[in-house]
């Protein structure tokens, strides 16, 4: 790569990911930017629960301990951080970050981006159609919505970087846009420069799931990968026509043809038309080349002009899940667990609990594979756990399940043991993806800044 490049490190790949590999990337990766992805599809549902309890919450709370660890090192090295940890409340996230900066004695400029949250202005976007089925939004879902967010693009983040932000906090943004933004800013790419933009989007797509491109969750030769206990997060060196994917030399894991092609296709749907808010990415001409150990050069990404709409995902309340998990031992472990399931199902029925669906599976036998599980394997199981999950609109009914399960210790088949997971009642959130007019969303998008030489503006 002869022309100018920018080096970007991956921070977190989801809410709950570990911070230490991100610190390693800052200290040893010679990066200029660290981009952190905290928001999986269902994360906003978790943040909504926080916000309902406390209006000062609603952002990914791991942001603050993460910054506490990373910020002093990042500031020392001039590494700027981009994160979507703002979640449903970027303003509160920025205020919390500002308090932390004061505590740490850091002089930093924080920018926040708002406008992805459509819940308050949803009527402006009606009528809405389901992204896949094209069905109109049902009235009963409309009344139960808990969040509705558009996936914004890279442009406002790049603008915030141009204005000098050391930390940019966003709400819902397309994951790859978090990474494209520093490329736009550092390399001076135009928003219509599709050939170049495609490289930045590709880099973002490869980095957005952190260790999933450096050997984590690898379906290939996972046993041969060394140092998973000390796995490194990926680094992308992005230039005009290529992306180099690598990691720090001392970290564990692997960057290879296999780990890169696996992440390249991850959750992308049509490889010739990966829709992002910045462009439509085509990876069908991409070439991967292992240029040295743990460094893969990626060339050939193409781009087409972006769609006129943003994707948006809405979540709606859809009842509760109650679950009971208890184990049985050999001999005839599965037979015992099945009997326990029958007893529980009978009790649910006779008590008239308002349960809509009962989902029964056996941990250690078929809880993942269900009907595709190999039944031969069930014959001589050493042990197996019954997992009985119920769907109900009633929180009380969900909680009642645990009380029904406990007496099985003395009343059911022999060897009931390992009582776990009785209290894990969970609120269920249905997802409803749609698309919304881009111009109408953009009217709500704004960049605000805190700290540095200015106050809030």
């Amino acid at each position: 790569m002869g022309s100018k490049t920018v080096r970007i490190g991956a921070g977190l790949g989801f809410y709950g990911d570990s911070f230490l590999p991100a610190l390693d990337v800052i200290q040893n990766g010679r990066i200029e930017y660290l981009c952190c992805e905290h928001l999986a599809e269902l994360t906003l549902a978790i943040l909504k629960k926080d916000q309902l309890k406390n209006p000062e919450l609603g952002f990914a709370r791991d942001l603050i301990p993460m910054l506490k660890l990373l910020w002093p090192e990042a500031q020392k090295r001039g590494v700027r951080i981009v994160s979507n940890a703002g979640g449903l409340n970027p303003k509160a996230a920025a205020m919390a970050a500002k308090r932390l900066a004061e505590e740490l004695g850091l002089r930093v400029k924080i920018a926040l981006i708002e406008g992805d949250d459509l819940l308050g202005s949803l009527a402006e976007f009606f009528p809405l159609k389901h992204l896949q089925t094209q069905e109109p939004l049902p009235e009963d879902i409309k009344d139960r919505l808990v969040f509705a967010n558009a996936y914004l693009g890279a442009a406002p983040i790049a603008q915030a970087l141009k204005e000098g932000a050391d930390l940019v906090l966003t709400g819902r943004v397309a994951d790859c846009s978090l990474f494209l933004a520093p490329c736009l800013h550092e390399l001076g790419w135009g928003l219509d420069d599709l050939e170049r933009l495609a490289q930045g989007t590709l880099a973002g797509h490869l980095l957005e799931c952190s260790a999933q491109v450096t050997g984590g969750n690898h379906g290939g030769d996972w046993e041969g990968i060394e140092g998973l206990e000390n796995i490194g997060y990926p680094i992308a060196e992005v230039g005009d026509g290529s992306v180099l994917i690598t990691k720090t030399p001392a970290s564990g894991g692997r960057v290879s043809f296999d780990t890169v092609r696996e992440q390249l296709l991850y959750e992308m749907h049509d490889p010739s038309s990966y829709l992002t808010p910045d462009l439509i990415l085509d990876i069908t001409q991409v070439r991967l080349k292992e240029v040295q150990k743990n460094s893969v050069l990626v060339t050939g990404a193409k781009g087409r002009p972006r769609p006129d709409s943003y994707k948006a995902v809405m979540g709606y309340q859809d009842g509760f899940m109650g679950q009971a998990i208890l184990g049985y031992s050999w001999p005839e472990a599965l037979k015992k667990a099945k009997k326990a399931s029958e007893i529980l199902t009978y009790k649910i029925k006779t008590l008239g609990l308002p349960i809509e669906e009962v989902h029964t599976s056996f941990l250690g036998f078929n809880s993942f594979f269900e009907e595709l599980a190999d039944t031969e394997a069930a014959k001589e199981l050493n042990e197996v756990y019954l997992r009985l999950a119920v769907r109900t609109q009633s929180l009380k009914a969900a909680q009642a399940l645990s009380r029904l399960a406990v007496p099985l210790a003395l009343q059911g088949p022999p060897t009931a043991s390992g009582f776990i997971g009785f209290e894990r009642t969970r609120e269920l959130i249905g997802l409803w993806p749609t698309s919304v007019d881009r111009g109408a969303v953009d009217r709500h998008v704004c960049i605000k800044s805190l700290g540095g030489d200015e106050g809030a503006s």
Binding site: G219, G220, D258, L265, E267, H269, P271, L288, G315, E370
Partner: protein
Amino acid sequence: MLLKEVAFARSGDKGDIVDIGLFAFSKEDYALIKEQVSAKRVKAHFEPFGATRAERYEVPNLLALKFVVHGVLQGGASRSLRADNLGKTFGAMLLKMPLEP
């Protein structure tokens, strides 16, 4: 012979959709999976999970096939009752598909 012997896989979720990347170990293996692992077969494979539709994309530059399987996550990870609510094991399940050598 099982698909597992010629390819590896990774899967993930988008709403009610499971998205599976299937990666052949060699060019010969790619030709084999391209010939035998059709969208129709994949849909049938996941019908016990409620599959309503499956699309296949060929990605020869990565020696890979991509499958997009609709309707298999009980409406999405956050409303699913399954132990694998995120569809992470669908790739592994696909590898159980029998192939003609």
